[in-house]
Amino acid sequence: MVEIGQDDSIRVQIRPDPFSAFEALECWAGAAAASAVFLGRVRPQTLDGEPLQALELQHYPGFCERQLLQLAREQLQHHGATRVLVLHRVGTLLPGELIVLVAVEADRRGCAQRCCSDLLEALKHQAPFWKREWFSGQGTWLSGNTPL
């Protein structure tokens, strides 16, 4: 597991193994008045509707962690949130497994919800991760993100 973060306000982890969202949140959660959480899981079907065997996630080590940290810092400042947690899987994932967890704490629900949503979208489009769907022993790299 690779973990980076400048201080307690931002924590970013690349996780090579399955993780429990609830355990991660329990360890991370503070006493903020508002918290927003997004959990993304592997769908059971490929984009073409075929049964998915596995989802492979590749990243650019080093650059990816720094990019996540930068994105989290920008969104935290932009929305006036207080704390951010980003956990992102890499490696081979099975249907139903968690891919990503984004959690944000703030003093108000609006800040927390908007920051969580914007950080997720920034991560999807600006962090160097790539997905490959496996079906019937064949792997297909995805060429774009799923619609919002």
Partner: protein, 89 residues
């Protein structure tokens, strides 16, 4: 033409480290190569052309783990990465 260093050339300082990811790795059949910087002002776009992996459009370029324009001049010792569209999250 694709340049590749022989093992005995690895001590040369005037090389770039080129990285490919995801579909580009499959297309090229390799993940990482060292190539000599044979001319001043060499750009990422020029290196890409030499790799013969198709059009550069929709491929992002990173030098030393920073996203840059493809016409940025490269220097010996740089880490040059070609990145297909990101699909994480």
């Amino acid at each position: 033409m694709i340049w590749t260093l022989e093992p005995h050339q690895s001590v040369l300082a005037s090389v770039l480290r080129v990285l490919l990811f995801a579909s580009l790795r499959d297309r090229a059949g390799w993940e990482e190569r060292s190539i000599p910087v044979s001319e001043a002002g060499l750009t990422a776009a020029q290196v890409w052309d030499q790799l013969e992996l198709g059009p550069l459009e929709s491929v992002c370029v990173a030098v030393n783990q920073e996203l840059v324009r493809s016409d940025q001049p490269l220097r010996a010792g740089d880490e040059l990465a070609f990145l297909p569209p990101f699909t994480g999250g």
